[in-house]
């Protein structure tokens, strides 16, 4: 019993006893029981109204415990994920089939999206891993671990095959893409740092037990569930509307797991190539990529004056890197207050410290007052605990600031390094392996037997049409 059973409670409790006049109870006795309850203690609070012995032989119903999803389905999910990734790799690298990937996307959208309601997904699993890293008491379920590791491991060999047709978020955006427009290169490059920053923020908040930011601000899970917070429903619909003209905005400019896969894909063993064999530089694929991942051939200038200038810029940027990291870490310190406010324990402790002197409210309490009430009961320990969490968040915020500096610095370094490219090829990190560019390549059409197949069956002897216009 809560020790603060108050006045209003008592009147109401007295009422029932007088009126109900339960024959098994002597009113005075029950009244005295209630008075004893007032002085409240645990031992007495245990049994206010002893459970009856029914003379009619009434059987007590059982408390029902409806089961959730059967355990075995966790493994089914992992198996479906593994199978989908394998099919995706097969479709991209062996079949080179866009139609196949669209089919796979539809399946993934139906299964991981609308059937599994987008939970648990690889994107969110990042936070479970972060929580497990910093919170010894939390054990990651094996299925969540598999959702985290499988796509990442595959990205080291086959790039972002997971993004291509397995991720329901990607599939949803890919299927609404109507008329892609090109995002200006400067904007594209600037926005492409966001996923790494978002990843850092997600890890910081999950690792300190504050919030699963990436889940809370997931724009598509409300779409899959067909319900959710108004803000996120609007964000989801807005992103989909944007996604009709800007290819996969969430994947390219926000997705924190995509950031990890991008890192994996940059060093991947096999890469997507536009052409199945050799590039004839026909430029037909030039505008085929809706995600701005296709780079044109680049001749690196090697005249001494240009080279010297490039080297100097690179040296300056590399020297700038530690300055940027330290500077941003310093700035990150200022955001530790905002990060701490997201932690329920710390924000409650702040309120407790502010209202320590004011007496506890009585009567009908709001949820916030009830929470304050709970914190008050063991105020010192609660404040100590919150202080420890706050320290961790402060340290974490500095590291997060440093991470932001590192991301920006490395982006600048990356932009100032020119790589020689003699063919049209997708950049491994940005390529989502959607297979759209394949069918723009004449060599690919030859591989599929197009012109020849065309030639071998001329329609009523009319002159052969060129297969490619």
């Amino acid at each position: 019993m809560r020790p603060d059973a108050n006045e209003s409670g008592l009147t109401a409790a007295g009422g029932p006893e007088n009126r109900a006049a339960r024959p098994r109870f002597n009113p005075t006795l029950s009244l005295s029981v209630l008075i004893l309850l007032l002085i409240s203690t645990v031992a007495l609070a245990q049994q206010r109204f002893p459970p009856p012995d029914f003379e009619s032989g009434h059987k007590l119903p059982l408390t029902t415990t409806p089961a959730g999803r059967a355990f075995i389905y966790e493994y089914v999910d992992v198996a479906v994920l593994a199978a989908c990734i394998a099919i995706s790799v097969f479709l991209i690298y062996r079949k080179r089939s866009r139609a196949g990937l669209v089919g796979l996307s539809l399946f993934s959208l139906a299964y991981f999206g609308f059937y599994r309601k987008g939970c648990v997904c690889a994107i969110g699993s990042v936070q479970n891993i972060a929580l497990a890293l910093f919170e010894p008491g939390y054990a990651v379920p094996v299925s969540v671990l598999a959702f985290f590791i499988l796509p990442l491991a595959v990205s080291l060999f086959f790039g972002r095959s997971f993004c291509a047709g397995v991720c329901p978020h990607g599939a949803l955006q890919d299927l609404v893409l109507l008329k892609p427009i090109k995002v200006p290169a400067w904007l594209e490059q600037a926005l492409s740092t966001l996923p790494f920053i978002y990843l850092g923020a997600g890890v910081l908040l999950a690792g300190t037990g504050s919030a699963f930011l990436i889940c809370q601000y997931d724009p598509f899970v409300p779409v899959f569930r067909l319900s959710g917070r108004a803000l996120m429903v609007i964000a989801g619909v807005a992103l989909l509307a944007l996604g009709m003209f800007v290819g996969r905005p969430y994947c390219r400019f926000l997705c924190p797991y995509g950031a990890l896969l991008k890192a994996g894909a940059m060093v991947s063993r096999w890469r997507v190539t536009v052409t199945p064999d050799n590039c004839t530089q026909c430029r037909l694929c030039e505008t085929s990529c809706p995600f701005g991942a296709l780079r044109e051939p680049e001749e690196v200038q090697t005249t001494p004056s240009v080279l010297r200038q490039d080297r100097r810029r690179l040296a300056f940027l590399i020297a700038l890197l530690p300055v940027l990291v330290l500077g941003c870490a310093w700035v990150g310190d200022f955001f530790s207050g905002a990060a701490a406010a997201l932690n329920p324990t710390v924000s409650l402790a702040d309120r407790l410290a502010a209202e320590k002197e004011t007496p506890a409210k009585s009567g009908a309490l709001s949820p916030d007052d009830l929470a304050l009430d709970r914190a008050r009961q063991n105020a010192d320990e609660f404040l100590r605990n919150a202080e420890a969490i706050r320290k961790r968040i402060t340290t974490g915020s500095r590291i997060f600031g440093g991470w932001v500096g590192l991301v920006i610095g490395l982006k600048l370094v990356g932009l100032s390094v020119h790589r020689r490219r003699k063919d049209y090829e997708p950049t491994p990190g940005d390529c989502l392996a959607c297979a759209r560019c394949f069918e723009f390549c004449p060599s690919e059409l030859v591989r599929r037997g197009f012109p020849n197949g065309f030639a071998s069956q001329p329609l009523d002897g009319s002159p052969l049409e060129p297969a490619l216009k």
Partner: protein, 160 residues
Amino acid sequence: MGSIAMRSSAMNTVWQIDPQKCVRCGNCATHCVLEQSAVKCVHAYAICGYCQLCTGYFEPEPNDLNTGAENCLCPTAAIKRTFVEDPYFEYTIDERLCIGCAKCVEGCNRFGNGSLFLQVRHDRCVNCNECAISKVCAGDAFRRVPANAPYLLKTTSHGL
């Protein structure tokens, strides 16, 4: 990574309310991501006193001890009151109507045996990676429990 894998458990976890920590604040009814909360009132019949004047069923100081809406605490009429034998009545929760507002739970805990309590119902819960209610729970009563033991049922009144 290795240490996480070593510590990972084969069993998935689900969210559940510790009824001993629940402070009946009412957030369960309003903060679940589902339109009708996955949290429902549950009845531990073995603890129930089968009171004629159930303080979980009736308003404080009701006009009359009958099932009229003006006497009832439950805003959705989700509690069914059936006569067993004089003077005992059985109270059953209709989960299709229950919204998890905890009004009855508060009444039962404050003046009765505390046999009514809130639980996450796993046939409804979508098992979000992070439960939206857990973040605002006034009693800090939400926690992850193993999926093979997904309920924290009350077996003794008032947790003793």
